[in-house]
Structure formats: C-alpha cells, structure tokens
Amino acid sequence: MDKAANSILYLDGVNVSFDGFKALNALSLIIEPGEMRAVIGPNGAGKTTMMDVITGKTRPDTGDVLYAETCDLTRLDEAAIAELGIGRKFQKPSVFEKLTVAENLALALAGNRRVREALFWRMSKAEKTRLAELLDLVRLGSQRDMLAARLSHGQKQWLEIGMLLAQEPKLLLVDEPVAGMTDAETETTAVLLKSIAGERSVVVVEHDMSFVRELDVKVTVLHEGSVLAEGSLDHVSADDRVIEVYLGR
C-alpha cells in the first residue's frame, strides 16, 4: 500500500480480458491529488476500458485499483463510486435538452437525491451563488435560461463539464472533450480544464494532439493495454516506440 501513498488514483498490474482479448495488460498508473493527466493512445489501446474499470462499470480480472490511497474501487458499484467523488464525462455530450442551462446545472448540484426533498426543494442562497459561479466557469452565463437543446455542440460539452463540477467530484474522468469542436472552442476548453485542475484531479483521454499540447501536462501513452511511455509531450513524442505505434503513422 505504500506505493499508493499520496495518490488520488492508483492502478497497479490491472488486467482485463474479453474473450481472450487483453484489453488491459498489467496497466499501472498513478495520479496525484490536483494533477491533470492526458492519456493518449491509438484506437483499442485500452483508454475506455481503463475508465470503465475506475468507474466500476468493468471489473478487472487481477490488479489493484485504489482511490485516495485506501479505497478499493474494485469492490464498489457505479453509484457508490460516483458518490465517493469520481465524475465521468462520456464522449458524446449528454445533457437534458428540454431543460434550461441553469436547470441542468441545478439538477447536478451536490445534495440530497431523494424524492421528498426534490418535491419541496428550494434553491438556497449558497446554491444560487454556486450556480452562478459554475455558469461563469463554463462560459454560459448569458445562456442560463436557454433550453439546452439550443446550445451548440461545444457549449453542450461545456455544460456537461459544468454538471460534472456541480457534483463536486475530487477526480474527473473526461473522455475526448473536444471531439467535434471548432478550433476556437477547443482552445476555450483547454483553458476551462486547466482552471479546474489544482483543486481537483483530472484525467483527460484525447486524440487531438494540438489540444494535448495546449493542456501542457504530463502525458501517458497507452498501447495494447499497458503504458508505453510517460512524461511531457515533447518527451514522449521523441520516444521511438511511441512514434512507431502512434505518432508516426
């Protein structure tokens, strides 16, 4: 357990196989509190399976998955893991289209999720302040009363990131946040994600190399279910094996 000291997320020797196909092969990864990490790799490298293992959707065959040094994620289900403070954003934006931007965020605000509380709930002053902060953070302040369906693709992605933040997670897993975004939107998203890191840990899975460069964080390259290289983008870009399997193609 000592190896897990001072980590928010600790994966060691994680193996997952589907019908003989090794999706994860002795994968080891350590994320520190407040760190932002970019995970890149070709299709089938195991990026999504890694997210599934962390969020409880897939159980590893062997290996340790520890959250905040001691908490064994392999024993918990999806809801319990979400409650611990691990939020996940899927690749395709999924927001509530018939609700306004503010309502989308209000639903995601941390708090009691029971039927009776929902029936008699009134937004407190603290929640209003938090909502306004989130709206500013995801740059949707002037769209607060607009139906989410009318947002652009990029704005929907930001709204969903905002909803994730409203849940007050300690660790965010973000899957391809800039897929389908314009260059300008991509740039804004990089700034947004960077401003989140620090108080929270963020793991970003991404294909877009210019976006990863903009993030300017430590990069982990996955290949065939294990870590191929780790370090700054320049460092991994110079690695011959990385060039061979991924960048060089």
């Binding site: 809801a79 979400a82 999924s94 209000a106 039927v115 008699f120 769209q143 849940q167 804004t188």
Partner: protein, 377 residues
C-alpha cells in the same frame, strides 16, 4: 425561476384553464338551475351531465400526461385506474340503495341476491360509509400503481415493454371484473343508483353539485400537477424522460421518481372515475377495455403532451366531436378519430397546445442571433 416559468406561455395556458374551470363551475349550474327551460340560454340536464363527463375524461388525460408527457412512461392501461376509482364509488352507491332494490334485501345488492349469495363478501364491508369509499377511491388505484410500478421500474422495464404490460394489466382486470363470482356485478356492473350522501341522484340540485365538484376536482388536480412539474422533482422526471441513464449517473434513483409520478397519476385517474360514475349512473367492466385507455392516449396526444392544459383541451374537444359525430354520422366516427390522430401526429407533433406555443417559440428564436456569436468564439 418559478416566476420566470409562470410567464412562459405554457403556464399562461394553465392560468387560463383554471379561470375557465371556475367560470364553468359557476355558469353551467346557474344556467341550468336559474333559467326557465324554454329560455335560449338554458342548459339542459343532459348537457350538464355531458360536460361533467368530459371533465372527468379531462382529468384522466391530465393524469396520463403527468406520466407520459413529463416522465416518458407511456401507460396504455390508465383506464384501469379510472375504472377502479369508479368501482369504489359504485360500491358506495350500491350500498346506499339499501332495501329499495328490486329484491328488497337491505344488506345485499340485487345482483348478489340473484346469485343466491347469503352474505356480503368481506371486501364490500366499509363501503356503506362515504369517507371509507372516498379513501378507497385513492387507495385502490394508488396501491395497484405502486405495486405494479415497484416491480416494473425496479426491473428497469421501460419503453414499449412497459406500455404492453400496462395494456395487459387493464385487459386482465377487465376479464376478472366480467366474472360474476368476483362480486362486482359481472357483465352488468353496478347501476340503478339512488342517492349519494342522502341526496337523490336524479334531483337537479345534486346533479349541479356533482358538476361543481368535478370542476373543483379538475381544478385541484391541475394545481397539484402544476406544483409537481414545477418543482425540482418535475425537473428530475423531465430529465428521466430525456436522458434516463444520465439522470442515474447524477445520482438520482430513477425508479423512485417514476414510482412517485405513476402513483400520483393513478390516484388522480381514480378520482376522475369516482366522479364519472354518479354522473353517468353506471360502471361496468367495459371501462377496463384497452380501447378506453388508448383513447385517453389519443386525447392527450391531440391536446399536446408535456403541457398541462393541452390534454384537458384534447379530452374535451375530442369527446365533444365524438358526441356530435355519433349523433349525426355514427358510422364515420372512428374514421374521423383516426384521421384526426394522424393529422395531429403529422402536422402538429406538439398537439393543439403547440399552436398556442408557436408564437412564443418565434419570439424566443429571435433572441438566437444575439447568443450565437458567443457560441462561435
């Protein structure tokens, strides 16, 4: 946020509907009771009963809208809850007949005497008291919906599968109530009612009071549905309708929210059935017919689901048309209903309520250019 929502056109529709109901509750009984029968503005008794019936159907459509329009659960068996509420009221009215029945038995309704039964089945006890019957009007449909929903939603049955089993539920109940040995009057159902709370059901005063009670019940149901859909719970059930798995991922127990909406909806349908029975004078197993539940779906779709006043409008207009057609051109009614349903589905996907909404949508769209440049930044 609530004030903002009140100003939206959909909610103006709710306010107008509430005002119209008050007007109806005053005007129709007044014109019935206070004007001479030969006056051109006199409302005859049959017309008042007919409007009362439409308002009961409107309550059924409203209850269906709460689960279908807001929570995305298409129930094809909501007529079952309506009929159960109706039977609970019918049982009370049967017990009020007392020894005035054809066989003159003070304890047993006529059909039980006819079947040579000697004592009242246990589940008929208590229905001699109005208060007990009134509680059962809510409790029986509510309990059935709760149990049904508990198992269906927990097993994550949804979409068309859920629709089919709700249809099966009402069909099964219809077959059960057709049986004489169920003790609910079999094929003939419950009828030949005499009085309610000691007042003669045939008297004009009682009929006017029943009409006013129906208006008030619809008024109250509309307010309850308004409060529910405008609360955070309303946002959650809308969220479930639009993206169920996302809602789960935010940490909401989706099945509990669905269960709440489904149970409340069944209770409203039960009240509608209970008010329907004394006004039409009969309840029989035909009310459980799957076709009835499907008709309620059509009213809701035509009026506009996902708005609260739409289903009320739809139920009243479609039934008004039905009354007119079945009088003037009886053989054409089902074709007309089918054509209407097709036309609304094709040209008015938001139903008649969408017509009122259109202007508001236009106004909102004109704000888009201002917002769009920011999106492109």
């Amino acid at each position: 946020m609530i004030i903002h929502r009140l100003l939206r056109v959909g909610d103006r529709g709710v306010l107008i509907t509430l005002a119209l109901l008050v007007l109806l509750a005053i005007l129709v009984p007044a014109l019935h009771l206070l004007t001479p029968t030969d006056s051109p503005i006199h409302v005859p008794a049959y017309a008042m009963a007919l409007i009362g019936k439409y308002l009961c159907y409107a309550m059924l459509a409203l209850s269906l809208d709460l689960v279908w329009g807001y929570c995305g659960i298409l129930s094809l068996g909501h007529g079952a809850f309506f009929a159960l509420g109706g039977y609970a009221m019918g049982m009370y009215l049967m017990r009020q007949i007392g020894s005035r029945g054809v066989y003159g038995n003070p304890d047993l309704p006529d059909f039980m005497v006819f079947l040579n039964w000697t004592e009242l089945p246990w589940y008929w006890h208590g229905f001699e008291w109005f208060a007990f019957a009134a509680i059962m009007v809510l409790f029986v449909p509510g309990l059935l919906a709760f149990l049904f929903g508990f198992f269906a939603f927990r097993s994550r049955v949804s979409g068309v599968h859920l629709s089919i089993i709700t249809q099966a539920l009402t069909f099964a109940l219809m077959l059960a109530f057709f049986r004489n040995d169920m003790g609910f009057g079999g094929n003939n159902g419950l009828t030949d009612f005499k009085d309610i709370l000691g007042f003669n059901l045939q008297s004009t005063g009682t009929r006017a009071t029943l009409f006013i009670a129906t208006c008030l019940a619809l008024f109250a149901s509309l307010l309850v549905c308004f409060a529910i859909t405008r609360s955070r719970l309303g946002m959650v059930i809308t969220a479930i309708r639009d993206a169920e798995s996302r809602t789960r991922f935010l940490g909401y127990r989706v099945e509990s929210f669905k269960l709440f909406a489904f149970t409340v909806s069944a209770c409203i349908a039960g009240i509608a059935g209970a008010l329907y029975v004394p006004q039409v004078g009969i309840i029989n197993p035909g009310e459980f017919a799957p076709a009835n539940s499907i008709e309620a779906v059509i009213w809701t779709a035509i009026g506009g689901r996902g708005t609260l006043f739409g289903p009320i409008l739809g139920a009243v207009l479609v039934n008004f048309a039905k009354s007119w057609f079945t009088g003037a051109l009886p053989e054409l009614w089902l074709f007309a209903l089918g054509a209407l349903f097709l036309a609304v589905t094709l040209f008015l996907p938001k139903g008649l309520a969408g017509l009122f909404d259109r202007r508001a949508t236009k106004a909102a769209n004109s704000q888009v250019p201002a917002a769009q440049p920011e999106a492109a930044e």
